[in-house]
Symmetry: C2
Subunit: 274 residues, 2 copies
């Protein structure tokens, strides 16, 4: 979620929406393990997008109440439709900008943010705002990827080049595709205490059923989503692009491997931090 | 362990020997967790170096018998001295080349190899030789790092450059500092079955006591060990080197982080693979 919804680097196509849901269901356990909120607690999900994580949050904490916000009305409509279709009644949706939150100080018991800070020009400002609407003693959970953590075999310059194109485009749009490694200092700098980082690493190869399909439908599909933009911006030519994408697919085939690390951070607002 | 002991990229200095023991004790649980051999079993440790892993093997499986080999008589002498000093009596040392093993087929119940294949020009040949001396149904455990897995904050080109110098020197010496990601296909190609990969990731920051010290004494010390060679080979100039090392140290200070993944692979020799 960026200040300008049009600058969202991954786009808002149907394929992208499907990709985000694939990502959430395939990685659900890896990312959400350990995230379960007590009955009656009141949680802000900041940057819910099309509701991919919302479904998991609502399902894993059925007796907690969620307020899920996003800057994009289109994404919110999709999220709401999906959550209702799944029968969850513990989520309220609201259009809002993470940088200008329409809530009173101390409104929420907990805050959850996933794949959102990576798109924001000033993540520290966003974290400061989120801390304001969190009650003293409440927790924040942030999950972000880090494309620099992608290691794969066979390893080729062409494959790194297409990944670098996404990193560059995301930076040009004000985001940071390498933000995972920064979560500890960001939460600490924003004034959260007891900050703990839980790296969640995936390893995909032919020996793990379904893992290579997930690399294709989640990671490679995400890279492929910026093809036209990368070529239009002069970051790569069509032949280089196609070679890099072919090399990425190669890592999901016989004898290949692909590894990626998500960073999950949990911090707390001090009890005397009013 | 390389075919030519003089080409061992990390050198054989006292500081290097201390570094290897620091590495083994600091990372002992992370790497050896799950590696425990039944009483009476007969294990080949191929490439024991100065005995850093030998101590952990012998301690974790006190009723198993180890034969630890290395190509370097100096390293073996240090390993033997250290193991005796610690009071272990279940290890026999023998000078041998992993590529010309002086054992009959099927001699060992299990084989253990740690930080050795990364120095060998033909790891597939070595694995084939190790499979020969393993009994049908026996297991092989291989642990290797992968310097491409190093991600850190602050992230600078200068820091990557000094790491790349070690990767290049190791490749020039016939090794591969990025071999971790290749363990699955190497073991599979060598004919082992039921190959499983266990990535073991470390996360170091000021919030985890002792972790940043370990990055300095293990990883950065290893990089620093090739300074003169990297400059002599024209891979970098002294100013660039010093800047890169300073930047690496910076990742172990306030607000910094350093992440690294070791790959542990376990495979089995088929029961009908004679």
């Amino acid at each position: 979620m960026s200040a300008d919804p049009r600058s969202y680097v991954h786009g808002r196509s149907d394929r992208e929406s499907t990709r985000l849901h694939d990502q959430a269901s395939g990685l659900g356990f890896l990312l959400h393990e350990g995230t379960c909120y007590p009955p009656g607690s009141n949680i802000l999900e900041a940057g819910c997008g099309v509701g991919a994580q919302t479904l998991l949050l609502a399902g894993n904490s059925p007796h907690a109440q969620f307020v899920s916000i996003d800057i994009s009305p289109e994404s919110l409509a999709q999220a709401q439709e999906r959550v209702l279709r799944e029968g969850f009644t513990n989520v309220t949706f609201r259009q809002a900008d993470i940088c200008i939150l329409p809530f009173r100080a101390g409104t929420f018991d907990h805050v959850f943010v996933c794949f959102t800070l990576e798109h924001i020009p000033d993540p520290l400002l966003a974290l400061g705002n989120l801390k304001k609407v969190l009650r003293p003693g409440g927790t924040i959970t942030v999950i972000e990827g880090d494309h620099g953590s992608a290691i794969f075999y066979p390893d080729t310059k062409a494959a790194h080049h297409v990944i670098d194109c996404l990193v560059t485009l995301q930076r040009q749009a004000g985001g940071n595709a390498l933000i995972g490694r920064e979560l500890e200092h960001l939460l600490t700098d924003a004034g959260f205490v007891d900050v703990k980082i839980f790296p969640r690493q995936t390893y995909a190869s032919a020996s793990i059923a379904g893992s290579s399909e997930a690399v294709r439908s989640i990671f490679i599909a995400m890279i492929e989503g910026v093809r036209e933009q990368a070529i239009a911006e002069g970051l790569i030519d069509p032949e280089g692009w196609d070679r890099g994408i072919r090399d990425l697919y190669r890592t999901t085939e016989q004898n290949g491997m692909f590894c990626y690390t998500f960073f999950k951070a949990v911090g707390r607002k001090g009890v005397e931090d009013l």
